[in-house]
């Protein structure tokens, strides 16, 4: 169906799903998803609301059972080894309501520390300082941004081999976001970690991420290293003769097209030389072929469309 790659080969995966499907009653949430997060990767999972991102994460943490298919985290089935998997995963949920509203921040850190043998108190204190957390504050009185930072600190302080972050910058102001990125980068520089990151804000993580998976209509429609996406998905501007019939030649490889009578501006997936050759052999003249931003690439993947102008 898709001309875009959805499988990676020759790599070890720390997080993987196989033919993963989930139905709520009769509503599909995931259809045969084969997620592949390479060891040491920072993997961006993107998709519109309801595409199945959070469902995938919940299944990885054994908070939900799949309808069919299987999942693997660090080589383990989370349903058979729930405690072991959770001990090795730092998880920042999208919804922060954990029912700990009465706890003070410091108490929550202590509470959390007991669950994780690898908890690093010195690092936890460092993170608390970096995030300006006040140990005497009750969780229920925290703003969304403060709550988010408490959870990020909880997830990082035991230096888990796997981090699963669901919208980690949600509720953070621009300065907090930047601080959070700085903390995350510093963490990655010191601790070998595989990161699965769900977000709508791809631009924020463009320079940190190295892999991307795109969920559309509950299916994985693309999955690849980011550099491959940047290389392969390009914007071509070409001059075309009047009545040009090149449209049929490209098929599904064209994700976005803006067409004027003698000019086209297309976002096309493919080897640059092949695409240019195809344009040329159809009588078009490629004026420009350029890489596009991750933001534009994501839009093209999630929402292919055609525009005709005069």
């Amino acid at each position: 169906m898709s001309v875009l790659p959805t499988a990676m080969i020759g790599t070890e995966f720390t997080v993987a799903t196989h033919d993963l499907s989930k139905h709520y009653k009769y509503v599909p949430a995931l259809r045969k998803v084969a997620l592949q997060v390479p060891t040491g990767a920072v993997y961006l999972l993107v998709g519109p609301n309801g595409a199945g991102k959070s469902t995938t994460i919940k299944i990885l943490l054994d908070l939900l059972r799949p309808t069919s298919g299987s999942v693997e985290v660090l080589g383990m089935d989370p349903h058979r080894h729930p405690a072991l998997v959770r001990a090795n995963v730092g998880y920042v949920p999208e919804q922060l309501n954990w029912g700990y509203g009465w706890m003070r921040v410091g108490r929550l850190l202590e509470h959390h520390a007991r669950y994780f043998p690898s908890w690093d108190w010195e690092y936890a204190k460092h993170l608390s300082r970096a995030f300006q957390l006040r140990p005497d504050q009750r969780m229920s009185t925290l703003s969304k941004g403060q709550g988010r930072r408490v959870h990020i600190a909880l997830a990082l302080a035991h230096r888990p081999p796997v981090l699963i972050l669901d919208e980690p910058t949600d509720g953070l102001d621009p300065v907090m976001r930047d601080d959070m990125l700085g903390v995350l980068i510093d963490h990655l520089a010191q601790t070998p970690t595989t990161v699965l990151l769900c977000t709508h804000h791809v631009t924020e993580f463009e320079q940190i991420a190295d892999h991307i998976g795109v969920l559309r209509n509950n299916e994985l429609c693309a999955q690849m290293p980011l550099h491959q996406l940047k290389q392969g998905l390009r914007r071509y501007r070409a001059e075309v003769p009047t009545g040009w019939g090149g449209k049929a030649m490209f098929g599904a490889a064209v994700l976005r097209r803006t067409t004027a009578p003698n000019e086209v501006d297309w976002t096309v997936w493919g080897e640059q030389d092949d695409v240019a050759h195809q344009f040329a052999s159809s009588g078009a003249f490629v004026r420009d072929s350029a890489t596009i931003s991750l933001h534009d690439a994501t839009l093209a993947l999630l929402n292919p469309r055609e525009t005709v102008t005069t």
Partner: protein, 129 residues
């Protein structure tokens, strides 16, 4: 040495870092035995993945521009930029300019002519100042 990268540049980030180091050598802001910022430091400053910085440093080491001294950091070994490297740098700049010219429907001759004229004008401006 100041290193900056641009996410909208078509060059991959690790290539941009390599080019920045080469640029610093050509303009002379770093010399032999100069230490590059640590991977952790540079990744944090530029807000990029530490692996990207490591990759850039590894490639520079492979080219013999820097060397990684275990436990100490990454140091410049080859300080004086030779003519071949200057030519390579000039070629990169030329290719970028050509691509831009092509996009605007200009050919090589038109670009060269415009470059000469613009260069002369720049020279006048400098001598007047």
């Amino acid at each position: 040495m100041l290193i900056s990268v641009d996410p909208n540049d078509p060059r991959p980030i690790y290539i941009q870092i390599m080019d920045e180091v080469r640029r610093a050598l050509v303009v002379g802001t770093i010399g032999a035995d100069a230490a590059l910022p640590s991977v952790r430091q540079l990744a944090g400053d530029l807000r990029i993945n530490p692996n990207t910085v490591s990759q850039a440093y590894r490639e520079l080491e492979r080219e013999g521009v820097v060397e990684v001294r275990r436990g100490q950091g990454t140091y410049v070994v080859q300080a004086n930029v030779n003519a071949a490297q200057r030519r390579a740098l000039a070629r990169d700049v030329a290719v970028r300019a050509l691509r831009d010219a092509h996009r605007n429907g200009l050919d090589v001759d038109e670009l060269i002519q415009a470059l000469r004229a613009a260069g002369l004008q720049q020279l006048k401006k400098v001598s007047r100042a």
